[in-house]
């Protein structure tokens, strides 16, 4: 660890950095990577998306998407971060000087995601406490809108104290973990929270399965509608779900794999992480739909009649209502919101580490300085935008645009530049195969160079058209322009500004290992 950690002094230019931080071992890395991948999307997005897109039949495109895009791009992130041993900007710069800006674009995406993601965790923390008295009463929807004091689309500085306090606590906790570094902070936090999350969530799912109506819920989720497979929208939904759920293509997995020892297995741990992420989604699907089945049973209706089956409305409106109707609902509620909180927190710290690690690499900042300064900046912006009465709409729009435009664009650019422009695919393939017990071949190049980009470009174009033609969520155009397109444009501007800064630590004082001899064709 850099000695400048305590003083925060920047190392002079052209000085080699101290040895890179490392995970304590393979297990620490795997658990942390699972902690990052398993987040809110696993719990509140997958079940509803599967249900709306063909139920059981959705699992076919979902598994195909996992195998043809999710795992291959995950491997690509691992290869870039591990071979070039850097957070996104450093790793991309070492691959090609001008590619550094792509790394900073990913850092900016992480900034925007972190600031709203923390706000959702703050709500979950409040609701964890509210569970003990079932404080939301008979009308959880009104209760939630009162809790966040939801105002019309816009930007207000009217603070909501009920959100402000938990949000401050979340940020202090995140900064505290990050300040302890990779092995003592991030890894330790994951080693505590991931097993706890599994136990809490399994308890919840098993309890849910014994509720009356649970079987009807599982029927609704798993009954296959095979006609859905001819609908392109269903395939796009599957690729999107896999893509957003695995935390790929916005710097996290590059950063995490850069902290692995040089001699470390790459793809096989990647398979474990990818399948663990999907395993949790299947478990969440079973749990969530068993609960929805119970709700339909209690209300004498069917699941198709229920609203609010995913996202914020599932967690903070639909679920509280079910919890109130359940015997010992408080216990169930506490388990559910604690699960959301733990799954989300282990993702949040990975997102902010992308930012911290990048500044450590470029400016020679110490671990503590990066955590406090950069975590502090995120916290202040997060509090200004998301502890106010306008948070709900801003969050909704930033989330939609930064993911569907920013992250997808980042993935397309990464795949196309690495494989087609720089022609470094074979080098990365060699890197993965020579270090891993699960070798990758030309099929991997075809997936990251052809299949994944085609699906991603289709997703990107159709989403851009939708945003321009239909807008989003019935919100005014100026608001989408500022909060949605604005966050994407700011990410691009930020990327160029940060790329233009001088390196305080020489990025080129580096030799990639194992050495790769390009073929004649590649060398041209």
């Amino acid at each position: 660890m850099s000695t400048s950690a305590s003083t925060g002094a920047a190392a002079p230019a052209s000085t080699s950095a101290a040895p890179r931080q490392e995970w304590s071992g393979q297990l620490g890395f795997i658990i942390s990577a699972i902690g990052s991948a398993v987040g809110l999307g696993n719990i509140w997005r997958f079940p509803g998306v599967a249900y709306e897109n063909g139920g059981g039949a959705f699992l076919i495109p979902y598994l195909i998407a996992l195998l043809t895009a999710g795992l291959p791009i995950l491997f690509l992130d691992y290869a870039i971060g591990h071979r070039f041993r850097g957070s996104a900007p450093l790793a991309f710069r070492r691959m090609k000087r001008w590619l550094e800006s792509l790394g900073w674009f990913q850092v900016m995406i992480c900034f925007f995601i972190a600031i709203y993601y923390a706000a959702i965790l703050a709500w979950a923390a409040s609701y964890f406490v509210y569970s003990f008295g079932l404080k939301w009463g008979d009308d959880p929807t009104s209760f939630f809108l009162d809790y966040v004091q939801a105002a019309d689309p816009g930007f207000s500085l009217a603070i909501v104290p009920g959100v402000l306090i938990p949000l401050v606590i979340i940020w202090i906790a995140a900064i505290g973990v990050l300040a302890l570094g990779v092995a003592k902070g991030l890894e330790k936090a994951n080693l505590v929270f991931i097993p706890l999350l599994v136990v809490a969530f399994l308890t919840l799912v098993i309890r849910a399965l014994f509720l009356p109506g649970a079987a009807d819920g599982l029927n609704a989720l798993f009954t296959p509608d095979f006609s859905a497979l001819t609908n392109p929208a269903v395939w796009i939904a599957a690729y999107s779900q896999i893509f957003f759920s695995l935390s790929i293509a916005f710097g996290i997995m590059i950063t995490y794999s850069s902290y692995r020892r040089r001699k470390s297995n790459q793809t096989t741990p990647g398979l474990v992480v990818g399948f663990a992420n999907s395993s949790f989604e299947i478990l969440a699907g079973i749990g969530v739909f068993a609960i929805l089945g119970f709700m339909a049973h209690e209300q004498g209706t069917t699941i198709s009649e229920l609203g609010g089956l995913k996202g914020v409305s599932l967690a903070f409106m639909t679920f509280p209502k079910v919890i109130s109707e359940m015997p010992q609902g408080w216990f169930f509620g506490a388990l559910f919101f604690a699960s959301l909180l733990m799954a989300g927190f282990t993702s949040l710290i990975s997102i902010v580490q992308v930012i911290c690690g990048s500044f450590q690499d470029k400016f020679g900042w110490g671990v503590r300085k990066a955590a406090i300064v950069l975590g502090g900046i995120c916290a202040v912006v997060s509090l200004l935008l998301f502890s106010t009465t306008t948070a709900l709409n801003v969050l909704d729009v930033v989330d939609a645009f930064i993911n569907n435009i920013g992250v997808v664009a980042s993935a397309i650019v990464t795949c196309v530049i690495v494989v087609w422009v720089l022609r470094r695919g074979r080098e990365l393939m060699y890197h993965l195969t020579s270090l891993s017990t699960f070798p990758v071949g030309t099929w991997w190049l075809a997936l990251i160079g052809v299949v994944a980009p085609i699906m991603l470009v289709y997703m990107f174009v159709s989403q851009v058209i939708t945003f321009f033609v239909d807008g989003y969520g019935g919100m005014p155009g100026w608001f989408l322009g500022v909060a949605g397109w604005g966050s994407v444009v700011l990410s691009v501007i930020g990327a160029f500004i940060l790329t233009a800064q001088r390196w305080r630590v020489d990025p080129d004082d580096f030799t990639a290992w194992p050495a790769y001899t390009p073929t004649k064709k590649e060398a041209k």
Binding site: T223, S264, N265
Partner: protein
């Protein structure tokens, strides 16, 4: 539950949870490659240049 839903649920569990178990077993049996590429980084220093 209906038969089709039950079959789909079980198949999904076998593929996804089975995939997790299989990849974990694969990793446990062979945590590392049998031979690292040479010349390799010195384990003591672990190529400490960044």
């Amino acid at each position: 539950m209906s038969a089709s839903a039950l079959v789909v649920m079980i198949v999904a569990m076998i593929i996804v949870w089975g995939g997790l178990v299989a990849s974990a077993v694969l990793l446990a049996r062979r945590p590392e490659v049998s031979a690292w590429p040479t010349p390799g980084p010195d384990d003591e220093e672990d190529m400490s240049f960044n």
